[in-house]
């Protein structure tokens, strides 16, 4: 079970509190996690990855195990501790004003 921590506004949109837990079949990567997240919560489609390009929106970052994964390949395997559910994948909004 993968754990994902969403920023406040996306938790509101998805109508969830706390971590989101997802089942992933196959390799655990940014892409497979986001695919599963959007399939489970379709209202999040377009809010993390741009609809047209599929790219991460510029003011969002991905962190796991205190490392910035934002600029890694979306198909790169995430750490084992994320794949095992021990650590969450954080989706974080850039600190850029209020």
């Amino acid at each position: 079970m993968i754990r994902v921590v969403l920023p406040h506004h996306l938790r509101t949109l998805a109508k969830v509190t706390g971590d989101v837990q997802l089942e992933i079949e196959g390799e655990v990567t940014q892409r497979s996690v986001l695919d599963a997240l959007e399939a489970r919560y379709p209202m999040l489609m377009g809010t993390i990855r741009d609809h047209a390009t599929g790219q991460r929106r510029p003011f969002l970052r991905f962190f796991a195990c205190e490392q910035d994964w934002s600029h890694e390949s979306p198909d790169a395997p995430l750490p084992e501790s994320v794949a095992s559910g021990k650590e969450p994948l954080f989706i974080i909004g850039a600190i850029a004003g209020g």
């Binding site: 920023p7 406040h8 506004h9 996306l10 949109l13 399939a39 489970r40 919560y41 379709p42 209202m43 489609m45 377009g46 809010t47 993390i48 741009d50 609809h51 047209a52 929106r57 003011f59 969002l60 909004g93 850039a94 850029a96």
Partner: protein
């Protein structure tokens, strides 16, 4: 008893202000979508309980919200229910993707950037939502970078009307200070095929065939801030309005100049007359008097606050040129707010109500066509848009 619902979009959420026909006591609900920019909300003329809202964020992009109960509850069309395993959701209400197909769209087109170079089209947000006059499920959306989209299934899916963006002058369109935005959409009540739109900074355009083909309608405009002041394209039109009984008569607030056209935009002439400044953003028409027009003059360049710190609505009862200041109930000293382009509206009650919102978070109302004003609310976030619904 009939009533009014005022839909207010702000920089930090949506608010709905409701009153009976007297318009003296108001109920305030909100913030809806707290923390998000609500560029625009508008109700369907065919079903007042159907309201659409454009919810945007620099972080999370575009979200479309819909209410079917007059704003009490909201949902994202198509995304409100979990799909069954293995299925995609029924619709993607926030998916605005330019039509670049070779068959119907205009692949690889560009517009002009601030520095004069060409720049690809990039979707940023929905500025304006214009529901069909007859079908609650059909809505037009004006977006940044400028293009016109339409839904026919209640905002579950959106398709571009690519004839506008690709009709030929697109490479000359350039962003204004607020971006390259399509901010005005006017549907002709007498001709279902006729739509007017306006873009900053490109100008006004008209279709007579439901959006397949378009023509610029900027003849008569003069903008001294562009290399050719009378160019066909490049004018920073701030807002355009019409009275439903005379859909061929248009009033425009341009970056500078208040303009009028009596022939569906084919030719414009200036009606700024005695205004203290002819810069401003909003312009609207009295619900029952097609020659009564309202503007809020704003000082420019760059200042963008009322002249002399006095917030004054100006009214012309002669279709322009002769303007009178309306000040009763409005601050007449030390007022330095702006009134943005979509932040004025009128209701249709017997004594026409006028409403406008400010960047300082006030929403002012007049229940007597502008003679007297009162604030409905003082301290909302900066107001981006105001629409009024007249309820049966």
């Amino acid at each position: 008893m009939s009533g009014v619902r005022v839909l207010v979009g702000t920089r930090k959420g949506a608010f709905i202000l409701s009153s009976d026909g007297k318009r003296q006591k108001w109920d305030v609900s909100g913030p809806h979508f707290a923390g998000w920019e609500i560029y625009h909300m508008k109700g369907s003329p065919a079903d007042p309980n159907r309201i659409y809202a454009s919810q945007t964020s620099g972080w999370f992009g575009q979200v479309l919200q819909r209410s079917d109960d007059g704003g009490k509850t909201w949902s994202m069309p198509g995304g409100e229910e979990l799909p069954k395993p293995g299925e995609f959701p029924a619709g993607l209400s926030n998916k605005f993707v330019y039509d670049t197909s070779a068959e119907t769209g205009k692949p690889l087109t560009t517009h002009q950037w601030y520095d004069g170079t060409q720049h690809p089209w990039e979707f940023k947000r929905v500025w304006h939502l214009e529901p069909s006059l007859t079908d609650p499920d059909t809505v037009y959306a004006g977006i940044e970078d400028a293009a016109l989209f339409r839904t026919t299934d209640g905002a579950k899916n959106w398709q571009e009307l690519p004839g506008l963006r690709g009709h030929g002058t697109g490479p000359k369109w350039q962003p204004g200070a607020g971006g390259l935005c399509l901010h005005t959409i006017l549907l002709s009540p007498s001709d279902p095929g006729r739509i007017y739109i306006a873009i900053s900074a490109a100008g006004a355009f008209r279709t007579d065939d439901g959006g397949n083909t378009w023509k610029p309608i900027n003849q008569g405009l003069r903008s001294s801030y562009i290399p050719d002041p009378t160019a066909e394209i490049g004018h920073c039109v701030h807002h355009v309005t019409l009275h439903p009984s005379r859909p061929n008569v248009l009033f425009m607030q341009k970056h500078w100049d208040v303009m009028r056209s009596d022939n569906a935009g084919d030719l414009w002439h200036e009606v700024s007359g005695n205004l203290p400044t002819d810069f401003g953003f909003v312009i609207d028409v009295h619900a029952h008097e097609p020659e009564t027009v309202y503007v809020v003059p704003i000082k420019s360049d760059s200042e963008h606050y009322p002249p002399e710190g006095k917030l004054r609505v100006y009214r012309s009862r002669t279709g322009g040129n002769e303007w009178e200041p309306l000040t009763k109930g409005l601050p007449q000293s030390n007022c330095y707010v702006d009134v943005l382009r979509d932040a004025m509206a009128v209701d249709k009650l017997d004594s026409c109500g006028i409403y406008f919102g400010t960047t300082g978070g006030q929403v002012y109302a007049s229940a007597d066509a502008g003679d007297n004003w009162m604030p409905i609310v003082h301290d909302l976030p900066g107001v981006l848009s105001v629409e009024a619904q007249t309820l049966p």
